[in-house]
């Protein structure tokens, strides 16, 4: 699903070069739920940006769904982000002027999907996160947990191949965080591939596999993945 080989990301100024990622190699198989952990400033966010094609790596190779996406142009990266990747952000990043329906509609619009199909997908995504009744509400009218559920629905509506979650419970209280995590686990059980960046060990332990990043390098890879164990396809691929 996702294969990174010797990736590096360097930020250059006139006087200094900063390596945010260096020689990072990682494989994520289809259907896996991987937690990426690491201390602050370790390169987790850069890793997520590169994985989500929001930034291009300085060197190395990145294969997504078998396609080399390391050095694609803006149009191609935008298209892949739109069609293959779903984002879940810590700050939810809903557009405040748009109601729930229209927020979820955004990525589908850029896919130039027909109106009927968009409506159907939005309805299904909202049903999946349990917010069908809030379709016409604006983000400010929802709790933090509900907003994150809308963000998850937005990510799911496009049926992405990969879900990227950046501290998805970072802005939520314990109860809401638990609900969001249970939702992510359920989505994973349905076959989704999820890569979640977190610095919370309690969340990380709920993923199948933990990847630890320090100074832009993977330093600890749990060899034996833990399975949530109900999705046969996931189990088979992970075991393989």
């Amino acid at each position: 699903m996702l294969k990174m080989s010797h990736l590096a990301k360097v930020y250059r100024t006139e006087v200094v070069e900063t390596y945010a990622l260096r020689d990072l190699s990682l494989n994520v198989r289809e259907g896996e739920f991987v937690a990426v952990t690491g201390p602050s400033g370790s390169g987790k966010t850069t890793f997520l940006n590169v994985t989500g094609l929001l930034e291009t790596p300085s060197s190395g190779q990145y294969l997504l769904d078998g396609e080399d996406v390391s050095q694609l142009g803006d149009d191609a990266r935008s298209r892949i982000r739109n069609e293959k990747i779903g984002f879940i952000f810590q700050a939810f990043n809903l557009i405040p002027d748009l109601n729930v329906f229209d927020n979820i509609d955004v990525p589908l619009r850029y896919r130039r999907m027909a109106g009927g199909e968009r409506k159907k997908r939005i309805g299904e995504a909202l049903e999946r996160v349990g917010l069908s009744a809030r379709m016409r509400h604006y983000p400010a009218e929802l709790s933090g947990g509900q907003q994150q559920r809308v963000a998850i629905a937005r990510a799911l509506a496009g049926s992405p191949r990969l879900l990227l979650a950046d501290e998805p419970t970072g802005n939520l209280d314990t109860q809401m965080a638990r609900g969001v995590m249970e939702l992510l686990e359920a989505i994973h059980r349905d076959g989704a591939t999820i890569v979640m960046v977190t610095h919370d060990p309690e969340l990380a332990v709920r993923a199948q596999r933990n990847v630890h990043i320090i100074d832009g390098q993977v330093v600890d890879l749990t060899e034996e993945p833990r399975f949530h164990g109900v999705h046969p396809a996931t189990h088979a691929q992970s075991a393989a």
């Binding site: 966010t45 940006n49 989500g52 929001l54 930034e55 803006d74 149009d75 935008s78 298209r79 982000r81 739109n82 069609e83 984002f87 952000f89 700050a91 990043n93 809903l94 557009i95 002027d97 748009l98 955004v106 990525p107 619009r109 850029y110 896919r111 130039r112 937005r154 950046d166």
Partner: protein, 436 residues
């Protein structure tokens, strides 16, 4: 996607009504000021017969000598003497030609209920009507025979025909002018070229005359000149003295359809001036000029220089308004970098962001254009209040002006939006999402 962008634009404009209002007002004010001046300028500088104006020529002959010339050395004469007009008419070097001057009559209506009244008239040759594409409602011009036979015939305007004959055909009827009956041979349809191209010396803007009589008849009847009369020296008294003086008071036009005829006519003018020198009338080297109607209107400053300056100032004001709009749009687009970052993350490429912002600037421009149109209307009301009646009748908005105002506003807004839009497309989604 265009409909989606329009929908987003309308939502975005509602989100911040103060900023939106400022942008629309900035564009509207600029459009209002520039369109007011442009409408006035277009009305004043319009070519009333664009299909003919390049073929209609005004000759100039220097009959006063070097002492009277302008600093540029150009001849100051904007009209001709009777002597020169007669000579040019006799030479008949153009397919059509006419001499003319402004005059007037007291009209005594046949209906005793109507009081006699005064009306402006034009003494001209029959070619005048075809040269200036004058439309006829009834009848026609008197023709060359009317010129030569010095018949008491007349062509009247539509308004006069409406007044005297209730709008019915008056061909063959007579109209009493200065106590003499003239037979009506033609009635004009609505015709009022602006500027009044055939005589920009007397009154550039205003209605055309309602009475046209043969030039030959006017001369025979000693019909007074109601227009300009410029003399460089004293003339003998009386009508004959006036006719044989060096005073210039007659307009002259020649229709020259192609370059070869123009060239030949120039040669004829030079030959004529040389002949006058040999005859002892001119004591200087011949100086003649030949300008077509468009050149003539520019040379005679039909459009006042002040109008050009005001037009430039108004477009300068539009530029200042647009600079303000650029700043406001920059603030607006940069203020929603976070949203742009989210849209980019969700699949919008730079082109999509560019289109969204451009459509929004277009919508702002459209709103600014509509406001500008309303302000233009107010501006023209103000212009009408300060201009005289003849000029103010020109200052109206037609469909072309409306389309032009809206188009100008949209184009101006889109141009003003290019830099802010470009900045918006440069938003790095990763940085914006991190900042959130």
């Amino acid at each position: 996607m265009f409909r989606y962008y329009v929908w987003l634009a309308l939502r975005s404009l509602r989100r911040n009504p103060v900023l939106t209002g400022l942008m629309i007002v900035a564009i509207g004010l600029g459009i209002g000021a520039s369109m007011t001046m442009l409408t006035l300028f277009r009305a004043m500088s319009g070519d009333p017969i664009p299909q003919k104006s390049a073929q209609l020529f005004v000759p100039q002959i220097d009959n006063w000598g070097p002492d009277q010339r302008e600093k540029s050395g150009e001849p100051p004469q904007t009209m001709l003497t009777y002597t020169d007009v007669e000579a040019l008419m006799r030479a008949h070097a153009a397919p059509r030609q006419t001499a003319m001057y402004a005059t007037g009559f007291v009209i005594t209506p046949s209906d005793p209920q109507q009081q006699p009244f005064q009306a402006e008239a034009r003494a001209t040759y029959s070619d005048f009507f075809e040269m200036f594409d004058v439309p006829f409602k009834y009848g026609s011009a008197w023709g060359a025979q009317g010129d030569d036979s010095r018949s008491d015939v007349v062509v009247i305007g539509k308004k006069l025909n409406d007044k005297l004959f209730g709008g019915a055909s008056s061909i063959g009827k007579t109209v009493n002018l200065d106590n003499r009956d003239y037979r009506i041979v033609g009635v004009l349809d609505d015709w009022s070229p602006q500027p009044r191209i055939y005589d920009v010396m007397d009154e550039s803007f205003g209605d055309a005359e309602e009475i046209f009589v043969p030039f030959t008849v006017a001369i025979d009847r000693h019909l007074d000149n109601w227009g300009n009369n410029n003399c460089a020296s004293l003339s003998d008294p009386g009508w004959e003295g006036h006719l044989h003086s060096e005073c210039i008071w007659l307009q002259f036009w020649a229709e020259l359809p192609d370059a070869a005829q123009v060239q030949r006519y120039r040669g004829m003018l030079d030959s004529y001036a040389s002949e006058q020198q040999h005859n002892g009338r001119f004591h200087w080297a011949p100086l003649t000029r030949l300008h077509n109607a468009r050149e003539w209107m520019v040379l005679q400053h039909v459009v006042p220089d002040e109008s050009r300056i005001l037009l430039m100032v108004s477009f300068g004001f539009l530029f200042v308004c647009l600079v303000n709009a650029v700043g406001l749009m920059l603030a607006k687009f940069m203020g929603r970098s976070a949203e742009t970052g989210v849209r980019r993350a969700l699949g919008a490429n730079r082109r999509a962001v560019f289109m969204q912002c451009m459509v929004e600037t277009g919508v702002i421009g459209l709103a600014g254009g509509l406001l500008g149109l309303a302000l233009t209307g107010l501006g023209l009301i103000g212009v009408r209040a300060v201009l005289d009646k003849d000029m103010s009748s020109l200052t109206h908005l037609d469909l072309v002006d409306v389309v032009l105002a809206v188009l100008l506003a949209v184009v101006a807004a889109v141009l003003a939006g290019i830099y802010p839009t470009w900045r918006a497309t440069q938003v790095q989604p990763a940085w914006q999402l991190k900042a959130n």
